[in-house]
């Protein structure tokens, strides 16, 4: 399997160093982050749904060494933290550090100040400049491909940004996600649908005391199409799965 043939050695080493530093300090931040979410913000995740999600994520990681991409709906800037909390436990993550998902946050939001850059570095992030130079975006995709091929999991938001309608928009699928999947043979996608009971629209931060619901579903999207059309087709299969999970969420309310 290719480990990002387009990624220069220097970039690969930099990612591995970041991984090492992050792992070294992980007992600290893997413990403090959920405590901050639970007791600082008062957030909770439905216990039963969380147990199912944690079990399923562990099963999916354990059953195959094929690349695993996590794709989620996107409503707040803290979704990736809450998702990490909702599908895993600090103990589980310490035992299997590859299960801690990498993220691709928007550079403008998360890499603008020195302390945010430190957090981004520790929290397994590869900042992405959305709408930036195409070669730079391609380089970020190469980094993600490299990480996936090494058995790391990566969390991406296939709608490309927080949903302005607060609903999953199938046609907003970012083709880059499909490109990632089609370029990695056997790549599996674990769709994660996360929503707080008070999330009626997109926002920066979930409300204090928010209670989240979570659901996961494994898919292996494939396309008979070629090139860009195949990438777009795969990306839309992923957003369609998330939309289906969203319908189930609202049907159950």
């Amino acid at each position: 399997m290719s480990e990002g043939p387009g990624l220069p050695r220097r970039e690969r080493v930099a990612l591995l160093v970041q991984l090492g530093v992050s792992r070294l300090l992980s007992p600290l931040w893997l413990t403090l982050t959920p405590l901050l979410m639970r007791f600082g913000f008062g957030w909770r995740v439905d216990a039963e749904e969380r147990a199912v999600a944690v079990r399923e994520y562990r099963r999916v990681r354990g059953e195959s060494s094929a690349p695993l991409l996590l794709c989620a709906n996107h409503l707040t800037m803290f979704d990736s933290f809450v998702i990490g909390w909702a599908i895993g436990s600090p103990g589980g993550y310490l035992r299997d550090f590859g299960a801690v998902p990498w993220n691709t946050p928007e550079e403008v939001h998360f890499a603008s100040t020195w302390w945010k850059r430190i957090l981004v570095y520790l929290y397994k992030c590869v900042p992405l400049k959305r709408g930036g130079d195409r070669a730079q975006v391609a380089k970020t995709l190469d980094k993600v491909r490299f990480l996936l091929a090494r058995g790391e999991t990566v969390l991406v938001f296939p709608e490309g940004g927080r949903s302005r309608t607060a609903r999953v928009e199938v046609d907003s699928a970012a083709y880059g996600v499909g490109r990632l999947v089609t370029s990695l043979p056997g790549c599996r996608v674990l769709c994660v649908y996360l929503r707080g009971e008070g999330q009626g629209s997109w926002s920066d931060l979930p409300r204090r005391g928010e209670r989240f619901h979570v659901a996961v579903a494994l898919i292996e999207p494939k396309s008979d199409k070629r090139g860009l059309r195949a990438s777009l087709d795969v990306a839309r299969q992923i957003t369609a799965q998330l939309a289906e999970m969203e319908h189930s969420y609202f049907d159950g309310r």
Partner: protein, 82 residues
């Protein structure tokens, strides 16, 4: 097909996606599609698919990485149609 003809057809395809119509009126080979014309980056793939249909060509994923300006589009399409 010469570069001018390709550019005219490229601009026609881009028109519905452009948010800065003033920039479109003075667009040339050096005009950046995302920064100058304010085309949404998520829609860039739709633009490229429209190029495929318009010129009856196939554009690979990797080719999209080199598309930043109108001139890049013209060069890419010219390579594919010949």
């Amino acid at each position: 097909m010469n570069a001018k003809e390709i550019q005219d057809r490229v601009l026609k395809i881009l028109t519905p996606y452009v948010k800065d119509e003033k920039a479109l009126a003075s667009a040339g080979p050096g005009t950046n599609i995302l920064e100058d014309l304010k085309v949404n980056s998520a829609r860039l793939v739709d633009v490229v698919l429209a190029f495929e249909d318009e010129f009856d060509i196939e554009i690979a994923d990797e080719d999209v990485d080199s598309v930043n300006t109108i001139g890049d589009c013209v060069t890419l399409i010219a390579q594919k149609v010949t």
